[in-house]
Symmetry: D2
Subunit: 345 residues, 4 copies
């Protein structure tokens, strides 16, 4: 299957290229970059020299619709909404790694993304691509809204206890930490090496784009309006997300009981691993891989459950999950091309 | 004034030496190390070569009592309790950077420190040295229990709202992050470079020694039994602590009102800086200095207050605070020898 | 083909496991660890949980010889020499990632490795496994001495100009830099995070084990006794080696001419990439992959050639190269199982 | 003494502010920033909040000449040359941390700095401020050209053996490594965290601005035209330079003899420390301080001397040295305000 990637100079795109290079059913034939059309990809990313021989090209929707069956958008916010409608209208399936098609509520989109949402008819076609939740819908998707990195780590950690109605819904606190690659390749003082190295920061308290996305997913699963307190932090490392979550248990539960329940909940999901009692995963343990690892600790003193969920933000938090979604959309095994081990150390 | 430092090869000791080197009233005449007696300090710490010319010696309580007026203990847990009683009985004031004299409750000490506490009469002599809380008592202390790193960052962040009774006391959640130097110079796989670099970890959920210490301080200020949920994490950096705290506000408060209250609360404390609305401090902004910087965000959607407090774990979290305490004990200005700017970048 | 790995808790072993997991012709059936026999591998390396289900076992040469066709030794120095003779005598091919079979001169072995070398008859059977130099001999090897990390990066950079006799042989200077994983998983103050982070060190000047290995390879190719000045440094990062080499050119050569010569020299070697004029590779560009990337700069002012060669020390510098050698020994394409892209960023 | 700092938002300026804050004879009264005039310094550098209360202002040469006695230029290349002449003509002494007044040869300036040099009469007034070489001239300087970071570490390491005529002058090779803060606060992909972390790079081979500066200093001391091969590298850390230098010894010398000679050479220089035989300094050992530490190793096998010199690039490589120069210019002890210990760890 021939596919195209739009947004060729970002980290999402190169990570797609890394995984698709070894995918048995897919061939990346076009890499599209507005700012670098005419340049060889390997000039911008020298690690690809002598391996990937593709010149980046400008976007031409008409050509694209004729030449590929599926398009990945690895673009900043508020870009894909301008192009996906035309592509899907011409029968090209689209996987969008940005947030343009994730929210269902236009007002919230406006509030958090600062622009108008795409028209509701296309939102209605879009499927939110968290395979552990809605594999069936993903199979049929023409527009696949690939989840954000924080929402992936967070909702996979919270959904089992919410669905089983084990926790007070007003008590959800999410203290999230990410490596710098989540901020992309665009330059900013925040992730200038001398400012970020040997430093730890909180940012965007109360206003992060992923808040409405997390709430939308949790609300749908809980059948009740859920609001969360979400604080993102940035860690002096390149890859990795840890989401540490705090909820009040309705009734006392042992850590072991909860672990058993999580194991059961995810028993058919090859990329979710639940850790044994007493073990909390660290971000390095999923580095470079599509796993989401979850550790649990029920604090008997305070009645709170602490859930720790880790992913590689560029893999399960972006490109790996996009490929997992593509596999499902195409009827292939969802692990195809994604069975690399985490890289350690 | 002649002082001695016990625990000469640890990071607490070298950080004491760094600050005392420029202190106008103090002379470090003895550095005591059980494991390195007979070795020059500069052999173990080559950054001190040609500057500090001291041979480490073995501990002899009798000699020490004759030759110095004050002793710093920068020792691991369960060491100072064996020596401080004899020293104070001979009139030597002691500042203990370890946890041996911090807790008042012997059962909790036993539970978290794994050994018996020192006899209660010495605990009764000990003053908990958080200068922002109890400067008057510190002045008279013969045994000064220097606070732990996490408790310093955390209690400075929580006390104002607890004292003013603005928050639900059952709701306190502390998500804490530390650099690796808090783990000391002792080798362990956890802080082996190849395992810790490009990694982020949670550890000791529910069992960390600083839990009873934080609860003891908060309980005393709140006049009510306080229990906290405390999760420490370790960041791939050497220095710095951030404590991100979550509490439910009893009544709606604006961020601005709360900032004004905190500024007023700490108006006489030279080392606490409250950030303006919209600004959250990062750990690098206090690097190498004795400041504790606090940022606040009252989330109007969820009714929660987020308090972010940062310190340098080796300075305000250990040696800097010990010197601040010594200054107060000796009647000097509490900033003496501590007026270096943070190092940035 | 069933293979065993000895030295199961080291970084060399886990990196072998990572690549062999996706190798189409090989199955790792035994992982041997003296210190951890009876423990699940995933307990020591939690990133493998739910993927690799193998218990580490103690070494039994007799059993091993019956059950596997090939054994990888990922052991410290002076271990494999005690076991490989018995295995090869029973027809098991051995790939040794340690230095025990690399040197041909027993006196030098004694001087740099501190023990006696294995008997000369086994040294004579051993083939030095740098596939770019001696693919033919590797095919027949029963004992494969897998090259050291520094020697791999260094000799691949120097051999073309030495063979073509373009440089003064007395002038060779090698300034090498490595990430910390080269020091292994064993604890030491040198690679304690708080000591290594935000630090850059030179070490083992004039006495590093890789000096005689580099000289032996270069001497063999140059047909003349070669001595080098070699200074290793350690960089605050986990993976990657850069070897910066300085040689005096006999006659003036342009950078372009030399690049063309190198491209020609390595035209049949899939894992050596020569960079274009004006481009010098960085270590991240080969991260996680088996590539060795080389950049050249002929300084017309001083008549010196600067050669910069980078590898991932755990891949082309250890386990990746071991698998490349296995592929050649078994008659498979040398890239089998090694065609992952570098991970960037 | 009232002084001004021009270039208020760069790392050179904040490091000047850090040291001058505790300097007994100096008061920083003006901080000038073209791009940030009207902004509080603490808004741009929040670590200074509540400590330094200065608004940055635009440059007005006339006002400045009336109000301060000395001006520090912490500006990019090709800026100070436009302003220093007018200031010195009005009797204001200037210390220039940029390279505008370092070179004496206008052609080389043009070649490496890309613009015309300031007029020769001002160059003639300028004194190159390496206090270990020319303290007497510095005392009288009206224009002080503060040395570059690489030239400081490098020339302090090479001058003793060059002056004593112990080495072949054609053989000098300098392999230099720097932290990222040397690249300043200006954004670039090179020092974008995700690109620089876990990476090691060589850059600007053969064209770095510091080549003619190093050659000019060495030529002057050697009384013979000296050319060097200089390769800068960038390390994933914020602060620190190591210069590893290789020279051919004319006659055999033991490491001990050379160390004794260096110790004697620098016996009156408080900021140069020569390490004992067998000890090579690492960059962390001078972190945050004005020391230059030097280690030596004479390789008896190859007849080469390896010199390792480390500094903190922002202190002895920039602002600390500028203050040392100011102290000498003003007749104060050269260590005034600079006697902080290195920060370790």
């Amino acid at each position: 299957m021939d596919v195209a990637i739009i947004g060729g100079t970002g980290y999402g795109a190169v990570e797609l290229i890394r995984f698709l290079h070894n995918h048995p059913h897919v061939h990346v034939t076009k890499i599209i970059s507005h700012s670098n059309s005419g340049t060889d990809l390997a000039e911008v990313y020298p690690h690809l020299v002598d391996i990937i021989d593709l010149e980046m090209i400008a976007l031409d929707i008409g050509d694209l619709a004729k030449e590929v069956e599926l398009v990945f958008f690895a673009t900043p916010s508020n870009v894909s909404k301008h192009y996906i409608p035309a592509l899907v209208d011409q029968g090209v399936r689209c996987i969008d790694l940005s947030g343009d098609f994730r929210l269902r509520d236009g007002e919230k989109y406006q509030a958090y993304y600062g622009e108008e949402m795409v028209s509701q008819s296309y939102i209605n076609q879009a499927v939110y691509g968290l395979p552990e939740l809605n594999k069936e819908q993903i199979k049929q998707a023409s527009i696949l809204a690939n989840p954000g990195c924080f929402p992936t780590a967070t909702t996979l950690g919270l959904i089992p206890v919410l669905e089983k109605d084990l926790v007070e819904r007003k008590s959800i606190i999410i203290d999230a930490k990410t490596g710098t690659s989540g901020a992309g390749r665009g330059l900013s003082l925040n992730v200038h090496f001398s400012e970020m190295n040997e430093n730890f920061k909180a940012y965007q308290l109360g206003v992060h784009k992923h808040i409405p996305e997390i709430e939308q997913v949790l609300t749908a699963r809980a059948n009740e309006d859920i609001q969360v307190t979400f604080t993102p932090h940035i860690v002096p490392m390149t890859r990795g997300i840890m989401s540490t979550m705090y909820v009040d248990l309705k009734d006392s539960q042992s850590t072991g009981q909860l672990i058993a329940m999580y194991e059961d909940y995810y028993k058919n999901d090859p990329f979710v691993r639940i850790r044994k009692e007493g073990i909390i995963p660290s971000t390095r343990e999923v580095y470079g891989s599509n796993y989401c690892d979850i550790g649990l600790y029920a604090d008997q003193r305070t009645g709170k459950l602490i859930i720790v969920s880790v992913i590689d933000n560029l893999v399960k938090g972006a490109s790996g999950q996009a490929i997992q979604n593509m596999n499902i959309m195409c009827g292939w095994d969802e692990t195809t091309g994604l069975n690399q081990l985490p890289i350690y150390p």
